[in-house]
């Protein structure tokens, strides 16, 4: 049998140990999280895998494009051009004298992206009229590849022309000197790493927080917590804290990988980067809380945070497709996607090396979104209880 010690002034005791209570809650949440090995594996492994994929597998560059060259001309000039094309890393060349119908078939089977035809009279035209033409047929179902490949082909032919005209002096030349800033080798990673950070943080935080809260609702344990003398706000915040720390670990992982494996340095202040990351994580947690207040089933919470947010976050953050290309209405929508602002912030700090003065506006917007979401969530929460 035990005896219960009633404190002399119970209210005072509770007030002074709110912090202690909070820590108790946070500890419990940590226990939940750390116990689930499978989820932890994915939580920490996913950013690594994504960085690897983006860093080494994906690129916007067009290369190794399968094309076919149909050479009807069979003359040395044509051969020179063809050699240049074959030497280019953009193309994987198959030589085959195909007719139009066969080219169509090859397109339909997805075997080639482009066909180059040197017509029969190529030699004749070049000799007698100083002007010959080559036909390029592109599979424009992928318009970008078609345009880019056609451009590259054009450039190769231009190159050939310049070579041809080497010996003849061409007067009045304008020479364009081009300098690539921030990313001299045009490495795709510069775009992707900030984007991956935004994506991973957003999806993980939103989903984990939402599920964690909704699960307690489903189990009925939420009611137990709410009936206790602890403020509901504390309960909710305690659920968010472990994921804040986990996400910071993820940020660190991504930065480490980025600097040492991808050789993409952090040009600006790391402290600032972490501070802004914390801000963004809190925004995402707020989104998660917002979702959880409105749903009662884990399944719905999960479907919304994953299915509902995966593609939109990828697209509206601006790291895959430039936002200025989008129709006006969508550009406006992208303004409420927190990932978009964070992406700009990370790019500015990490790649351009700028300071807070350049990103105070974006930070303010993130803070505003956070406060708004938390405010609305709290209100909904209180309404439910009343």
């Amino acid at each position: 049998m035990y005896f219960i010690n009633w404190p002399a002034a119970p209210n005072a005791a509770i007030k002074t140990s709110t912090m202690k209570q909070f820590i108790v809650f946070v500890r419990k949440e940590f226990a939940h999280v750390l116990r689930d090995r499978k989820t932890l594996l994915i939580l920490f492994g996913m950013p690594v895998v994504q960085i690897l994929i983006f860093g080494f597998a994906l690129t916007n560059e067009v290369k190794n494009a399968k094309i076919v060259i149909a050479d009807y001309a069979k003359d040395p000039a044509a051969q020179q051009i063809i050699s240049k094309i074959e030497a280019s890393r953009y193309f994987e060349v198959e030589r085959s004298v195909m007719r139009a119908a066969e080219i169509e078939d090859a397109f339909r089977q997805g075997r080639i992206k482009l066909a180059v035809v040197f017509p029969l009279n190529f030699n004749h035209a070049l000799l007698h009229e100083n002007s010959a033409s080559i036909q390029v047929i592109a599979d424009a179902s992928d318009p970008n590849a078609a345009t880019t490949l056609s451009n590259y082909l054009n450039a190769i032919v231009q190159d050939y022309q310049t070579d041809m005209n080497q010996n003849l002096s061409v007067p009045y030349r304008i020479i364009t000197e081009t300098r690539m800033l921030y990313n001299p080798q045009l490495k795709g990673v510069h775009n992707f790493v900030p984007g991956v950070m935004a994506l991973v943080l957003m999806l993980v935080c939103v989903m984990m927080t939402a599920i964690s809260i909704v699960r307690e609702k489903e189990n009925g344990t939420m009611e137990v917590l709410l009936v206790s003398p602890f403020k509901p706000l504390l309960v909710i915040l305690s659920k968010a804290v472990p994921y804040l720390l986990l996400s910071l670990v993820n940020v660190t992982t991504i930065l480490l990988l980025s600097v040492f494996v991808l050789k993409l340095p952090v040009n600006g202040s790391i402290m600032l980067l972490y501070a802004e990351s914390i801000l963004f994580i809190i925004t995402c947690l707020a989104v998660g809380i917002f979702i959880s207040v409105r749903t009662n089933s884990q399944q719905v919470a999960m479907l919304i945070s994953l299915m509902g947010m995966m593609l939109p976050t990828i697209l509206f953050s601006g790291f895959m497709f430039p936002i200025e290309n989008m129709p006006r209405a969508l550009q406006l929508i992208s303004n409420i996607v927190p990932a978009k602002w964070y992406y700009i912030i990370v790019k500015s700090i990490m790649i351009k090396g700028l300071g807070f003065s350049a990103i105070w506006k974006e930070s303010l917007i993130l803070a505003g979104i956070t406060l708004f979401l938390l405010g609305v969530s709290l209100k909904s929460f209180k309404i439910r209880l009343a």
Binding site: D36, T39, Q50, I53, F56, A57, L58, T59, N60, E61, K63, A65, A77, F107, R108, Q109, L126, N130, S131, A132, S133, I134, Q135, V136, I137, A138, S141, P143, N144, A145, A146, T148, A155, Y160, N165, P171, R173, I174, I175, T176, T178, M180, L181, N183, L186, M207, I211, Q299, V300, L306, M307, M310, L311, M320, F321, P322, N325, L330, L354, A358
Partner: protein, 372 residues
């Protein structure tokens, strides 16, 4: 056989009764299919350019007009100081800066040669490439015109020229949306199939109703079939809705045979659902299941060729993308819808997906233990 009928009755009843989930299954993909292709546009237009004109001559003015008239560029800054122009890049007001040096026209005419400087914000590699290429091409054309004026008219083209005549097959409008819609539809169908099937079994595990099933003489493969079929039907429904949206909103009418598409989607769904079932046999909670599935989805989507081409991947990545079912779905959707490919053309893709389907489903059945 009868058992399957009862299983299906139960599953469908449960699905239709859950109005929220049903709405999400039908509405979310539809909304995304309507909105997202509008956002996904790789076409590079509206490149912002800052021109620093230190010459202020007729030539530099002409060059500026040529650049603006090309339609590729938006002139956002026109000044005389390079630092200002550079600042435009820092603040993202401009994507590139063209600096025309003082004495441009005079030097070009007198010395027959002059330099201009272009600085490009290369964070977005593709934009930088294309922007640089367009600018170079405009300058080249301008150069050619000036040269023609200065050298005088010629009857014969003194310099041999090879011209490239381009022809575009399929999607002659070069409409990027037309390219993205089948891809996005593929992703949405995959997500529905994958997420729903994985949640379903795990939910029964969590609720304990799966024990009740395990205690009955239900055969394992009947049970799995009973779980596969309802979501297979749902997947097809979502696909059909997607096709309708593609037609109504984007005016995309499949060039090829719709039957071929349905044939492939039928097979594909078996594959994705099988993966979902397989994952669910490893998980105890819905959260785990969702997370693991999410991980696969993420990898599949990124490596599937939706955003970047699979051709430009390094060897090892291409192998991964080859065994990625999503790659094949996206390919087939694009091929049949945009190019009119037929059954024989997509046979290779069907074979890969069929093998994957067999592997996933068999593994799932083997893994599912009524007795632990």
């Amino acid at each position: 056989m009868r058992t399957i009928r009862f299983l299906l009755q139960k599953e469908f009843r449960q699905i239709f009764r859950n109005k929220t989930i049903l709405a999400m299954i039908l509405v979310m993909p539809s909304v995304q299919l309507i909105v997202l292709p509008l956002a996904a546009d790789y076409e590079i237009k509206n490149i912002n350019i800052a021109i620093v004109d230190n010459d202020r001559s007729p030539y530099s003015a002409r060059l500026t007009s040529a650049i603006v008239a090309s339609g590729y560029f938006r002139l956002t800054h026109h000044g005389t100081s390079y630092p200002e122009g550079f600042q435009a890049i820092e603040t993202d007001a401009a994507d590139l800066v063209l600096e025309i040096p003082a004495g441009f026209e005079r030097n070009l005419v007198r010395e027959e040669e002059e330099k201009v400087l272009v600085a490009v914000n290369a964070i977005n590699g593709m934009k930088a490439n294309l922007g640089g290429a367009y600018l170079a091409s405009i300058i080249r054309n301008f150069n050619r015109d000036i040269r023609a004026e200065l050298v005088g008219p010629q009857t014969v083209n003194p310099f041999p020229a090879v011209e490239v005549v381009s022809l575009n097959r399929f999607n002659t409008q070069l409409n990027y949306r037309v390219f993205m819609v089948p891809g996005i539809l593929a992703i949405l169908v995959t997500m529905i199939g994958g997420f729903l099937s994985v949640l379903n079994i795990v939910k029964e595990k969590e609720a304990g109703t799966i024990e009740q099933i395990n205690v009955t003489p239900i055969r394992k493969h009947h049970f799995i079939l009973g779980k596969l079929i309802p979501f297979w039907v749902l997947g097809n429904v979502v696909f059909t809705i997607g096709l309708c949206i593609a037609w109504l909103i984007y005016g995309i009418v499949p060039l090829g045979n719709i039957a071929v598409m349905y044939c492939f989607v039928a097979l594909y769904l078996l594959c994705v659902l099988g993966l979902g079932l397989l994952v669910s046999t490893f998980c105890e909670t819905q959260q785990q299941a969702m997370f693991i599935m999410f991980f696969f989805m993420m990898v599949f989507i990124l490596m599937g060729g939706l955003f970047t081409s699979t051709d430009s991947m390094p060897g090892w990545a291409r192998i991964v993308s080859e065994i990625n079912p999503v790659t094949h779905l996206i390919e087939v959707m694009r091929m049949v819808m945009l190019k009119g490919s037929g059954l024989t053309d997509v046979l290779r893709h069907m074979a890969v997906v069929a093998i994957l389907a067999v592997i996933f489903n068999t593994w799932a059945i083997l893994n599912y233990r009524k007795t632990t």
